[in-house]
């Protein structure tokens, strides 16, 4: 999928662990891990809002569109 989740980069920048962020965003660590690993099919606006609030960033900082090249395919 050409949508890349860079939540781990932001978490490293803000020095916050997965468990801590999950607790602050009020989702389970398992679900946050699904999101972090790019396994999620969709993200709710409410979740995105909470993540941006806790990481003090913009949605574009954690979600990136990278077009698929023939090599990647």
């Amino acid at each position: 999928m050409p949508i890349i989740i860079n939540i781990d980069v932001m978490m490293a920048k803000r020095k916050i662990s997965l468990g801590d962020l999950a607790e602050r965003v009020e989702i389970t660590p398992a679900n946050l891990s699904i999101l972090k690993n790019g396994k999620a099919r969709a993200i709710r606006f409410s979740t995105l809002e909470a993540i941006c609030r806790e990481l003090d960033c913009q949605p574009g900082d954690i979600i990136e569109y990278r077009p698929e090249t023939s090599e990647n395919q």
């Binding site: 989702i27 679900n31 946050l32 699904i34 999101l35 396994k39 999620a40 099919r41 969709a42 993200i43 709710r44 979740t47």
Partner: protein, 236 residues
Amino acid sequence: MQNKKSLLKRLLFLYIAFFLILVTGIVHNLLGDFGRGAETGVMMGEKIAETIQQGAPRQIYLLGDIHVIDQPDGLIRLRNGDTEVEACITRLNLLVDKPSQEASPVGLAFRSVGGNGWIYLLTLLIPVLFLAIIVLMIMIIHSLRRSIREERTLDRRNVWYLRTIGLLTIVSELVNGELVHTMSLRAAELLNGSGFTVDTAFDISYSTIIMGILILFSAEVFAIGQNLSEEQKLTI
């Protein structure tokens, strides 16, 4: 799941109804048919063995449940006082007895239904297909009860079971239709000139085929539900 208890109760009711119908069906139809079939089979086996022992092997085979659309005039007419009864034959069971080149008892036994080994195998295939459908139905009801208890009704296994039941229902009806058709063609040859007219049309039960398609349709509905449930589960 809010109405888990009522769902489980309904499934339990279906479970009990399914087993009651299964047992009643087996006792009422299958056992009687099996008893008659076994009796005919033993009689035919003894006859075949007798002809082999005599050194003049004969092929004895059965053409069962042949649909007849016309019969010789005045075949069965009864008079009881001033009441007249005319019997109309619609189905025939034919027992064919003809000289055979083959002296092997196994070969002759394999041709004891329809006069052909393939027809014999098709005859065996139909009960196997029905048995598979019954087993799958038991498995699907059991799986549904378990998945409701575990709160994941739209299980991939249930979709697979439903698809297989639908396919097997259609296949078993087609196999049965082909079996009856082949036997009817053979019977038509044998009864040529006898006054009996055999229905040689490829006849299948359309209601069974529709039922199979409906089962396949419900499997697809389940599959769509299962995909939606997965999407929902992966929406963070």
